[in-house]
């Protein structure tokens, strides 16, 4: 059990690090268009040519033939590890042009192919992942903070406070959140910068989602507040704030962790859904949702399978988070029994 959790956490950490250092891992600028290469298929890495086997992988350039893209075998381009390429800001602060891998000009390496504008799908996947996963994490944080706060207060004080807060949660649970978000986005003025759109969306997603964790937390607080050690602490003159911080909140922590693991993929999917419908982050910024939006066209869907990469990334991320939630839940049950 412990090793499974560790593996999941390592995989998740790896995924998030790759997204965090997207500029370094990505070989290309995600917005750079190469209009000569629309819908180019993924670049194949080669280890063998006419002269035999090579230790270092290399690629060929594409040429456009009557039946689509072909490898131009007249020239090889070696894949360099730790090489210079387009300039970017590491972590949004440090200006650099070092990349994990790349090829010399005029070679083009596109591990996941290119989109309809000739933009590198792999680079866009990483940069897009930054937006989509960050939206999921920030929205989860907001939802859990609000949920924990209102849940603890409602459970601890009970009576009218409890009734009013839980009435509010019922209202929020009934809300068709997707339509609500569509409505909120439609009311925004035309000229909203992508950064503000992102912030607004995550805040709205998070604030709508506080109700479920609040109900769970309230349930635990209700049972915790009447436990003997809490009553004893109260008898010794412990203040409300002290009791909540020292005795009640630790009880809630496990539930919040499990909820976090459940909510992150859900909120990533929410951002993807909105961007898919053109209501989230707009061009030229990448997000998994707006990358997938081109697949609304039937001809693109059936012709360019590599454009499904963001969907695969979304599924993998969601599965890892769900497995983590499952493991955390089991561990919590084990501890409580």
């Amino acid at each position: 059990m412990r090793s499974k959790t560790a593996i999941l956490i390592v995989v998740l950490a790896g995924l998030h690090l790759a997204l965090l250092f997207a500029g370094f891992v990505a070989p290309r600028d995600p917005a750079a268009q190469d209009r000569a290469l629309p819908y180019a298929p993924p670049t194949r890495l080669h280890f063998r040519d006419a002269s035999g086997w090579h230790l270092h992988p290399f690629i060929y350039r594409w040429t456009v033939g009557p039946d689509g893209y072909l490898d131009d075998t007249s020239q090889t381009f070696r894949v360099h590890v730790l090489t210079r390429g387009p300039a970017y800001k590491l972590l949004g602060m440090i200006e650099t042009d070092w990349h994990l891998f790349g090829v010399d000009e005029p070679g083009r390496i596109a591990l996941f192919g290119t989109d309809g504008f000739g933009r590198d799908e792999f680079s866009r996947l990483l940069y897009g992942g930054q937006i989509s996963v960050a939206a999921g994490l920030v929205a989860t944080l907001i939802a859990l903070l609000a949920g924990a706060l209102f849940g603890v207060i409602a459970g601890y004080y009970g009576r009218l406070t409890d009734e009013s807060f839980m009435g509010a949660t019922e209202l929020f649970l009934c809300l068709p959140w997707l339509y609500f978000l569509l409505g909120v986005r439609a009311f925004l003025p035309l000229h909203v910068s992508p950064a503000r759109t992102f912030l607004l969306l995550t805040c709205v997603i998070g604030l709508i989602g506080w109700a479920r964790p609040a109900r769970l937390v309230r349930g635990i607080v209700l049972s915790a507040r009447s436990r003997n050690y809490v009553l004893a602490a109260r008898g010794f003159g412990g203040s409300d704030l002290y009791l909540m911080r020292r005795h009640i909140f630790p009880e809630v922590l496990g539930v919040l962790l499990t909820q976090a693991a459940l909510l992150v993929p859900r909120y990533i999917a929410a951002e993807v859904t909105l961007s898919f419908f053109g209501l989230g982050v707009n061009e030229p910024l990448a997000s998994w949702g707006n990358m997938l939006s081109t697949l609304q066209q039937y001809s693109v869907l059936v012709s360019y399978a590599w454009l499904l990469a963001p969907a695969a990334a979304l599924v993998i991320t969601s599965v890892i988070y769900s497995l983590l939630a499952d493991t955390l839940h089991s561990r919590l049950k084990f501890h409580s029994t």
Binding site: A31, Q33, R35, P38, G116, F117, G118, A186, L190, H191, S193, F277, G278, N282, E283, P284, T294, Q296, Q297, Y298, S299, V300, V302, S303
Partner: protein
């Protein structure tokens, strides 16, 4: 096996076939003045199914405004004179001949004798007079009414005898015979009562019974299943015959399936559920081309359409609108050098390649290469030149900061948003390409996809937008339908709507030229006038023209006489000539 049992199956099958087939065509009789299509041959029978993007809103051709309703009613009805979609020239329809008076104001039309509506009732001049009375009635509010009001005065229609009608125009009107295309002749015996009772707008709604609707088109209504399909059957009295003197149409039935998006239409076509698709995107066309070996589909790339896609800047008067931020930017939008620089920075070839997959053409004016009769071929086609664009901006008082961002003369950052329809993937792609193109000039562009109705509201009503990518044209090749775009009082004068009078000298000149070409009857002189209009538009750039797609269509191998055309309805304009090939014929046609 008893004889009765052996006979049951064939009898049932025969009955089913008889019930499914449309009514048999009437034999042509000597009293009928029928139109003979010498070049057409085929054979009777079969059902052709086509996919539609939506349901029709009405079967009433007078009130129909949406493309689907017009496509369906167009097969049920006929006009006095029609535009042949293949030749783009007018040709006789219900009117056998017509004469124009010397001053170009009077048209005398001779109607064909012996014609009957699809319910068997005879057609004569009374139906024509009634139809035009309906079209020109303000209470009916037909979209065609504007065409019949010239200089604020309606044309007058007089019955000379049962088969002769005279039309008098308030003043000469170039290519006036083209007006008659799209004005369906109505059966007075069926529609006079609802019209007199003030219920014409409600007549022939989707709830109308099949027997209540009759027309002079090749088909008549057989069945309407809400949400699913409209089935038309052969009009047994249709007024055209083929080269063998057999009455058209060939098809027993024509079915419109309500399929939805273009993608859904392509899927249904690939699955063999429909037999024709029109107005394909290049991606879907290429998809069908790749599968041609399997499907044996007939594909047609008819070349550049008459549609023009363009970028328009908001130059409307915003006085009372409280749109200060946009009003500030209008200083740039009204600057010719700014518009010229933007135009010079646009890579139109990339648009054609990436948006239309090379199945389209770049545009520098409102008339594209598809309109061979009216295009001004002398107009220059300047290629993308960023240096020239920068020079233009510099001479217009613009400058750049250290980060390479464009600043106006007051030091404000030059950035604007482009709105476009979120459901139009091609225009969305154009916006993304423009965003990248203009970033090389230091202009920051925000692309804002909007739901189509929200877009129309902003562009036509609230003026709450900075720039938009839109498309117009595609109707007729003649300049007259463009009057509402280029004259200052036009309802589609998008860059500056509701102008009391021309704001600039060149707009005033365009007004005069357009009015003049409308009353000039000689083609060469009209062409000269319209060439000058095109030149002014290309120089002054109220629209920055981008590209036009090719007209692309496909049909199953079993569809005979498939002859799509540039003008709408591109695949069904010759529905009466279409026929279902036998398997042997289909194989031979490959």
């Amino acid at each position: 096996m008893p004889a009765i049992t052996r006979l049951t199956l064939p009898v049932c099958l025969l009955t089913a076939v008889c019930l499914a087939a449309g009514p048999a065509p009437e034999k042509p009789n000597p009293g009928e003045e029928l139109e003979r299509a010498e070049y057409v041959s085929g054979h009777y029978g079969g059902n052709l199914t086509v996919g539609g993007r939506a349901e029709p809103k009405t079967f009433n051709p007078v009130t129909a405004t949406d493309a689907v309703s017009r496509e369906v009613t167009g097969r049920l009805m006929a006009d006095l004179i029609e535009i042949n979609r293949a030749s783009q020239q007018t040709e006789p329809a219900l009117a056998r001949t017509w004469k124009t008076s010397f001053d170009g104001r009077t048209f005398t039309l001779q109607l064909r004798k012996g014609l009957r509506f699809s319910d068997g009732h005879p057609f004569d001049a009374d139906d024509v007079v009634f139809s035009f009375a309906v079209y020109m009635d303000e209470n009916v509010d037909s979209p065609q009414r504007d065409l019949l009001i010239i200089d604020g005065k309606p044309l007058t229609v007089t019955k000379v005898d049962p088969y002769t009608v005279r039309f008098t125009l308030p003043r000469p009107y170039a290519a006036a015979e083209r007006l008659f295309d799209g004005l369906a002749m109505l059966p007075k015996h069926l529609l006079e009562k609802p019209y007199r009772e003030g219920k014409f707008v409600q007549a022939w709604s989707l709830n109308a019974g099949v027997s209540e609707i009759a027309g002079l088109g090749p088909f008549r209504l057989k069945q309407y299943v809400p949400g699913q399909r409209v089935v038309l059957e052969r009009n047994p009295y249709y007024w055209k015959v083929d080269s063998k003197n057999e009455r058209l149409p060939y098809l027993d039935e024509l079915t419109f399936l309500f399929v939805g998006s273009e993608d859904a239409q392509v899927m249904r076509f690939e699955a063999g559920e429909t037999s024709m698709v029109s107005r394909l995107s290049s991606e879907n066309y290429n998809l069908l081309a790749r599968e041609r070996d399997r499907t044996r589909a007939q594909l047609a790339d008819l070349g550049p359409s008459l549609e023009y896609n363009f970028l328009v800047f908001n130059q409307n008067d915003l006085g009372a609108k409280k749109l200060d931020a946009i009003a500030q930017k209008q200083k740039w939008f009204r600057e010719l050098k700014f518009r010229q620089a933007i135009s010079m920075a646009i890579d139109r070839d990339s648009i054609v390649r990436l948006v239309y997959g090379t199945r389209g053409a770049a545009l520098w004016g409102n008339v594209g290469p598809g309109n061979k009769l009216w295009i001004n071929t002398a107009l220059p086609h300047p290629q993308r030149a960023l240096d020239t664009a920068r020079e233009l901006l510099k001479s217009g008082g613009f400058s750049w900061n250290k980060a390479g961002q464009l600043l106006d003369c007051s030091g404000a950052l030059v950035e604007f948003s482009i709105v476009t329809s979120s459901s139009n993937t091609q225009r969305m792609k154009m916006a993304t390409l423009l965003q990248d193109d203009l970033s090389h000039l230091g202009v920051q562009v925000h692309v804002v996809p909007l739901e189509f109705r929200a877009l129309i509201d902003r562009v036509f009503q609230s003026f709450d937008y900075e720039a938009a990518i839109m498309g117009l044209g595609g109707g007729d090749a003649d300049p007259n339908p463009e009057m509402n775009v280029w004259t200052t009082t036009g309802t589609s004068h998008l860059w500056h709507l509701h102008e009391a009078e021309p704001a600039t000298a060149w707009e005033r000149e365009i007004d005069q030229l357009m009015q003049q070409q409308m009353i000039t009857l000689d083609y060469a002189k009209r062409k000269q006038l319209y060439d000058r209009v095109q030149q002014l538009i290309a120089e002054q750039l109220p629209f920055i023209f981008l590209a036009t797609p090719d007209v692309l269509a496909a049909a199953a191998p079993r569809v005979g006489n498939f002859r799509p055309a540039l003008l709408d309805p591109c695949t069904l304009w010759n529905a009466e000539e279409l026929y279902i090939r036998t398997p042997v014929e289909s194989a031979g046609a490959r």
